[in-house]
Symmetry: C2
Subunit: 408 residues, 2 copies
């Protein structure tokens, strides 16, 4: 039973964003009958910020994208699905550079203005010829209205495309944001990667873009986990073209808060969509830790709970097993944790307090909460005022089936 799809913000189709054109088509790397190559064209003067996986075993496209971005803001993002170009050594880097160089040649820009992104099988060489053969057609197909096609073209084993748009009236104008994403951690056989691209026509400088992206990622893509297996290819970009005429610099605090909230909300909802679509998942679980001494501590506790196989299987079963939750809290890396102060809830139903099952605990009610497609495990630590939410999925037999199938 797949969890219900989240409403798509306030738009029925992805909003075009001034300063960006998109294209998608098939180059036949691995899939048949669907697009697997996407291009995002970025207007000059666009501020760009990116966050990449911190996995030291990072894929060739991540190495190249980082290096190119360090030199100058990009004009093109070239994304392929079906091959992650990871575990390919120096040859993989050369392949990524070659695809960028060919696109740059056709588009009339310097090679470092192209950023490569890949997702798919690890350990196989990127079929550059298939990609470069489609570049002229890709460039010719650029349009403001292809975000949905791009969202589909970057899918690997996602069962649904993921996009969201938001509009914010501010600064005497209107700002649009559209984001696309794919993936669910590294949960599918050899299909690495979470990718996310958010475009906006708000104007800002690169420093602001980096700060907004960093904060938004902390609350969104860096607050989800399916199985704790950080991919080799994760990347998230925020691109701000400025073509709306609304400038961050000129916005008052209230307007800035509105734009930030729209960005954070969009990215958070894309992130949750990724977890909902996690292979084998039947539930979206929010682990909401409050009363921590620091944000880092709150996250440490939340991740320990979110990664516990025993908690995740209990969630699959709809089993209100507070013992497993508290055992996970008790082993989290927090100094001097006083379990007697810990209070635990399922949604608003209190299940654990004072070191034992809570007075008023109703197993039937607790089981009902945990049988829903979405619920919250809330943990109050009684140590301060910091908090964090981590979203995760349950651990099911399907997850094991999918990942234990012998690779052909």
């Amino acid at each position: 039973m797949a969890p219900p799809a989240e409403p798509r913000g306030d738009a029925a189709a992805p909003l075009p964003v001034a300063g960006f054109r998109v294209a998608a088509l098939a180059c036949g790397i691995r899939y048949r009958g669907r697009d697997d190559l996407a291009l995002i064209e970025v207007a000059e003067q666009t501020a760009a910020a990116a966050v990449f996986t911190r996995n030291r075993f990072c894929a060739a496209p991540v190495v190249v994208a980082r290096e190119h971005l360090g030199r100058e803001a990009p004009r093109y993002l070239l994304i392929n699905a079906g091959n992650a170009n990871a575990g390919t050594g120096e040859a993989g880097i050369a392949d990524a550079e070659a695809c960028c160089a060919e696109l740059a040649r056709l588009a009339g820009v310097a090679p470092h203005r192209v950023l490569p992104f890949s997702t798919g099988v690890i350990g196989e060489r990127l079929p550059c010829d298939k990609i470069t053969a489609q570049l002229p057609g890709l460039l010719a197909a650029l349009s403001q209205d292809n975000w949905l096609a791009a969202a589909r073209a970057i899918m690997t084993t996602d069962t649904v495309e993921k996009w969201l748009s938001r509009r914010v009236a501010c600064g005497g104008g209107e700002v649009a944001l559209t984001g696309i994403a794919k993936g669910a951690g590294m949960i599918c056989p050899d299909m690495a990667t979470m990718l996310a691209f958010v475009a906006t026509d708000l104007q800002m400088d690169a420093q602001t873009a980096r700060e907004l992206l960093r904060d938004a990622c902390a609350l969104s893509f860096n607050s989800i986990t399916v199985d704790g297996d950080t991919s080799t290819n994760d990347a998230c970009m925020l691109l701000a073209s400025g073509r709306s005429g609304v400038r961050w610099h000129d916005l008052d605090d209230a307007a800035r808060r509105a734009c930030t909230a729209a960005l954070n909300g969009l990215m958070r909802d894309l992130a949750k969509a990724i977890v909902r679509d996690a292979e084998g998942a039947t539930r979206l679980i929010a682990v909401d830790v409050r009363g921590a001494a620091s944000a880092g501590e709150a996250r440490a506790v939340a991740y320990t709970v979110a990664h516990s196989p025993l908690v995740k299987t209990a969630c699959c079963a709809g089993d209100p097993n507070w013992g497993r939750i508290i055992a996970a809290v008790g082993r989290s890396p927090v100094d001097d944790l006083d379990v007697a102060r810990v209070v635990c809830y399922l949604d608003d139903h209190r299940i654990f307090a004072d070191g034992a099952q809570a007075a008023g605990y109703d197993e039937h009610r607790a089981a009902k909460i945990m049988s829903a497609p979405e619920f919250t495990i809330r943990i109050e630590l009684g140590r301060g005022a910091a908090a964090a939410v981590i979203w995760t999925s349950d651990l099911t037999e399907d997850y094991v089936k999918i990942n234990a199938d012998y690779r052909t």
Copy 2:
């Protein structure tokens, strides 16, 4: 397919150990038709050392045992299976103390000379009456020859009892060691706990016992993981009665090494037996990390690999998926890891080097290695000379089935 049982050291049945008597019987806490209560009597002058779970949510018996042990060496260890007396708050502590006090009264010792241990369901009150009703019979049944019965009485969802004995000729005499253990991390529904008790007739002081136990645990029980879910009740004790007449103090270096090796080997083999019996497990996997800058670093890398759901499901499948192994290495908490220096082997077959699949990689051979009930994933980091081995099991559908079954 359960992994083959490990040979039981150099004895066909547990060796009696001078200075210790054991008893086991049924008190009917939860199980029918089997023993669930065990008693180990410890001679005066026995040096005792213990290691307990560091889970802050520790069970009442752990709280009481720690406190009693801090006052004086024990005369009795009282162990029950079927109820962990965890998550029971202050009432649980009172229950544990009451059982200790009643045994102490019957045996004629001070209450703090009794250490309680429990394993089983979390969150339910300990049925003290059932336990105390059997204490006279338990005391009357004490004998040097009941180690096997005790090993069976402390089982919860173990499928096989776990015991080992060793003999060491040294210091002009012979030293015997016998150990019993149960559990497999916290992998069974509500059945918390790994417990291990090692008795020897070697004489040593308490400080030596603590040091030997600490070192032995580091190489054994603290180097296994099934699912990373540290129990609330884990405990391991080393008891040295001295009744062999052989004194640690008088042994030369070679003899000390022989005794230490026997102890470490016994505990390591008990620990491996626990992992082999992990619920749902079909494989015992050694994650052998070498060339680390420190032991802590080696362990951090080994645990990251051993806890990775994607690596564990690949092991279940017998799928030589080096990409998943290296992705786990790449996300381990090691500063400045240079993946280009990492070399990875399955047993002695090299599968990854120089940032890509190793030259000479033979998928058929690799798959054959991974289809065996036991194998080693060896990872060379090229950063130093430190090493560590962590043993783990695979992640299977059975694990999920067992732990996602709704608790009745």
